[in-house]
Symmetry: C2
Subunit: 341 residues, 2 copies
């Protein structure tokens, strides 16, 4: 029931995902009176879907803290519950991001070895695609948080983008800074010294994200959120200027006719619907957030992201890496204790 | 002597600025053997220029802290010294940003009522131009810093962009945040409650910068620096895609021929050389940083920014506003003391 065009774009998106991945089964939560006739109309979808009626939904403008405290059996809460019960492999929602994060954290809990979950997604670059996290779950982060984000972002690049040995960059600013940023230096040290097979590139700057300098860019949720919104805003500023230019003279309009097909290819390449689906990483369950404004194609992409995370073992692999670190730390501690006795 | 194309672009830029503003007089610092023949060749420039020979320059990669500690009579130091002595109204440099900030802070000192200087500049938006600060002088900021940045950014919009009643936004993130950001809430309260005639719009998000929602966007130096670099990087990503599209087929190339003139108008509108010149605001003197890669036109723009700041009374007006605040605080304190006695 979540998102600007619900339930239609969610249902049509699920149907599109079904065609791509016929092995999927959907559990769809919401007002059955609204959903059933629509699902029935999408015949193939009905056959692979279990409908779950809920009387309540999470409002788009509901306060996350109130949603978490409330006992209301909303569609969002019940969908997450199915993941918790192990009956669904993951949940995808186009609804209220804060509420989804809050509910998922509360109900599923944070993965062992993860101090704070992070929101991760991926974006087009000069070279291909780059994963960016955190996109807004944590306003401030310490070095350990950033290190764990790197582990999760690297695994996102492996499982969703299929990058074999993803490189990791830590977002920082150039030499203009009169003062340094201790947290970033500490996080860089953790990444440089880890025994995990991570490829830490070092610090990167803002322009390295669109340049695709590394596969994964790690930052705090405040900077990450600002970064994504500025990138989207700037892209539409520039495309708006270009659209205006093509309409500014007869000659330019004729030019557009000739160039149209080539320009449309860019539109496909930078289509935000192809980059839809942010994972709430670090929880005991796969939770993917679709953009609230996503249409069917966008929602289908988000379903694809959640499926990739499930089938390529995103959670298990992160858990294994973090367990290794915990074990190493325990062994080092035992060595110290033995040496001291 | 600073910048990638020094001294040629600096001298040619000064000459271009001289044609625009014949009332200006230049003091140019550096190696006289290199500078004199070049200045002499730009005849009009020689007549309005005093050359000051220096044996030393600040290297592009010099560490700011070392530059500040060093006693070397570099061209940068001597240029700032002339402002300090009151013999120059402002200084423009295309050199090492950190060194310029460090030296200027050390030599000129911070303006009364300003806790920390900030780097401010302006950028093209859907609606026109928006001032953004801090661009990297302060990695972390408290609420008072941000409030003072707002006062300085607002005055930059008045004096350089000629905006009559600039609106101010405080950069924040949307409802995704599970945790709030106390500093921003406190800064918003200061801006909302101030008796200064500031037009505080409230919080804005990353995409509000390219959208031109407000005339001035205030943020800390870390976020501001990342923001600018992502915006620049994204703009070149998109224009790169478009350039590629025009070269991808014969039809597209023909289209480009027809649309070329219209597209060049955008290039003029978004030309970074038209947005060159960042002020190191809050110092006891006008200090403007030109982009290191600026050509003559870019450097001339930076000279224009410094001249606007001088002739429209940037410093005096900020000082007056901050003095008013100090006076009010003192009066309130006196009232409290009187009431208590």
């Amino acid at each position: 029931m979540g998102g600007d065009h619900a339930p239609q774009s969610v249902l049509a998106g699920a149907n599109m995902a079904r065609q791509r991945y016929p092995e999927l089964h959907f559990h769809i939560f919401g007002d059955e009176a609204v959903l059933k006739p629509r699902v029935d109309r999408l015949r193939g979808l009905a056959q692979v879907t279990t409908l779950h009626h809920t009387d309540e939904v999470v409002a788009a403008d509901a306060k996350p803290s109130q949603v978490v405290r409330s006992k209301a059996k909303t569609s969002m809460r019940q969908a997450i519950d199915l993941v918790k019960a192990g009956e669904a492999a993951g949940v995808v929602s186009a609804g209220n991001t804060g509420a989804l994060m809050g509910l998922a954290m509360f109900m599923l809990g944070t993965m062992k070895g993860v101090d704070r979950p992070a929101i991760a997604s991926y974006f087009p670059t000069v070279k291909g695609e780059t994963v960016l996290l955190d996109l807004g779950a944590n306003v401030t982060c310490d070095a350990r948080n950033l290190f764990q984000f790197a582990v999760m972002g690297e695994m996102f690049a492996r499982t969703v983008l299929g990058v074999q040995e993803p490189t990791i960059g830590l977002l920082n600013i150039g030499s203009e800074a009169v003062k340094g940023h201790e947290t970033l230096k500490d996080a860089a040290a953790l990444l440089r010294e880890t025994t995990l097979p991570l490829h830490f590139h070092g610090f990167v700057e803002g322009d390295d994200i669109p340049a695709g300098t590394v596969d994964v860019v790690v930052t705090d949720g405040f900077t990450g959120n600002v970064a994504v919104k500025i990138a989207e805003g700037t892209a539409s500023l520039v495309t708006g200027f270009i659209r205006g230019a093509f309409q500014s003279s007869l000659s330019a309009m004729i030019g557009y006719v000739f160039a149209k097909r080539a320009l449309q290819k860019i539109r496909v390449r930078t289509d935000p619907r192809r980059y839809n689906g942010a994972v709430l990483a670090g929880l005991n369950g796969i939770v993917v957030k679709s953009h609230g404004g996503a249409d069917a194609l966008g929602f289908a992409t988000a379903v694809g992201v959640s499926y990739d995370l499930v089938r390529y073992g995103f959670m298990d692999k992160i858990a294994a890496e973090l367990a290794e670190l915990t074990q190493q730390a325990a062994a080092a501690e035992a060595d110290r204790a033995a040496a001291a006795s």
